[in-house]
């Protein structure tokens, strides 16, 4: 008796296409994921952020400041004269750069030993006391303020919220409500993407500050000095740590390189 397995099998192999189908799906998923991350979500977020009314920005900013006042900040201990001096400096910068003065509010807060500055949706910029004390001159302080103005001008807070939401929604649609593992994968992916977007926004804000510093003072050295002072204060001496993909900000070397493009 003949064994059926000895009969011609050439066509059988040719017609088993699942490997090709699997590879095609993988290839398209990789390309689609890349485009989603690098182009589709940022473009959609920018479009949506522009459509949100200014009153919503104001409300988010006010709630954000209130929440941080209750949990993180305490009242600033800077002297009234110092606050007045910085406020006047800020007003002159806004005027010279022909920005809309009503779009910005400058606030001072104390946050333990933390030297930091924040921009909230709605145009509020917060400077901590330690940051103000750490800066050696007004140019350095201006550079930091302009970095925060860059975040506001380029709508980074709202775009970041929308980007993260869109990415979360996209992954939720793909994975569905399947399991704890899928949830963890989604959370981890969202966190990674969020941090990556955050570093990109920091670079954009640095570029805005550098460009504005060049307009105001003719060079960007004060911005570089401010970055170096903040870097020393952060205690991040380990270059691997500072370039980690888990960082919200780019490493000092990358930031100085971005700024140097405006030299």
């Amino acid at each position: 008796m003949s064994n059926p397995s000895h009969w011609p099998a050439k066509a059988t192999k040719k017609q088993q296409p699942w490997l090709v189908i699997g590879l095609a799906v993988l290839l398209v998923c990789v390309v689609a994921g890349y485009k989603l991350y690098s182009s589709i979500i940022p473009m959609s977020a920018q479009y949506l952020a522009e459509k949100i009314p200014q009153s919503i920005y104001q409300q988010i900013g006010e709630h954000g400041l209130k929440s941080m006042d209750e949990s993180t900040f305490s009242a600033s201990e800077l002297s009234a004269d110092k606050k007045q001096e910085i406020s006047e400096l800020f007003s002159s910068v806004v005027e010279k750069l022909q920005l809309e003065p009503a779009s910005y509010q400058l606030e001072f807060r104390s946050w333990e030993e933390t030297a930091n500055a924040f921009a909230l949706p709605g145009g509020t910029i917060i400077l901590t006391d330690v940051l103000v004390e750490k800066m050696q001159n007004n140019e350095q302080l201006t550079a930091i303020i302009l970095h925060e103005v860059g975040h506001i001008e380029q709508n980074h807070n709202m775009q970041n919220m929308i980007r993260t939401s869109l990415f979360y929604i996209t992954l939720s649609v793909i994975f569905g409500d399947l399991s704890l593992v899928a949830d963890l994968l989604i959370e981890a992916s969202v966190m990674g993407v969020n941090l990556s977007y955050s570093r990109a926004f920091e670079n954009e804000a640095d570029a805005f500050s550098a460009s504005s510093m060049r307009t105001l003072y003719g060079d960007v050295s004060a911005l570089k000095q401010a970055m170096e002072l903040l870097h020393e204060d952060s205690g991040q001496e380990d270059s691997e740590q500072e370039n980690s993909w888990l960082s919200t900000h780019p490493g000092l070397a990358e930031r100085l390189q971005t700024i140097s493009a405006f030299d």
């Binding site: 059926p4 009969w7 011609p8 059988t12 095609a24 290839l27 398209v28 390309v31 473009m43």
Partner: protein
């Protein structure tokens, strides 16, 4: 061919299978089982978001590759003209979703014919 004509063609092929000697008939069915395609699989692969998979499923590698290439170019240039490539692929390929039963029926009849030819050309083992 419409469905009635395809059914008649299948019936004629089945008669030829029935007329095979038992061991060749057994070999035929073993091969046919491996080669024939499921119209539901074809339809699912057609409306799955990756273009061209239904062509790969039926072994039409060139068409599958062209669809896939179109989709990748469309994705890479989605900010500009990519969306028009997607629309073109949908307009060209979507009608096949509604003809999937007939397309796969036709394909399976061709597979039966080829399988019969393969089996008939093999000598009987002593």
């Amino acid at each position: 061919m419409n469905m009635d004509e395809l059914k008649q063609e299948e019936d004629a092929l089945r008669e030829r299978v029935t007329a095979l000697p038992p061991e060749k008939r057994k070999a035929y069915y073993a091969l046919e089982k491996k080669r024939i395609k499921d119209p539901d699989n074809y339809a699912v692969l057609n409306y799955f978001f990756v273009a061209g998979l239904h062509h790969f499923y039926l072994g039409k590698t060139l068409f599958g590759f062209l669809n896939l290439l179109g989709m990748l170019i469309g994705l890479l240039f989605i900010e500009t003209f990519g969306i028009f490539i997607f629309l073109a692929i949908i307009v060209i390929e979507l009608p096949q979703l509604f003809r999937s039963q007939r397309i796969v029926y036709q394909y399976n009849n061709n597979v039966m014919r080829q399988t019969l030819k393969d089996v008939e050309s093999q000598p009987l083992a002593s």
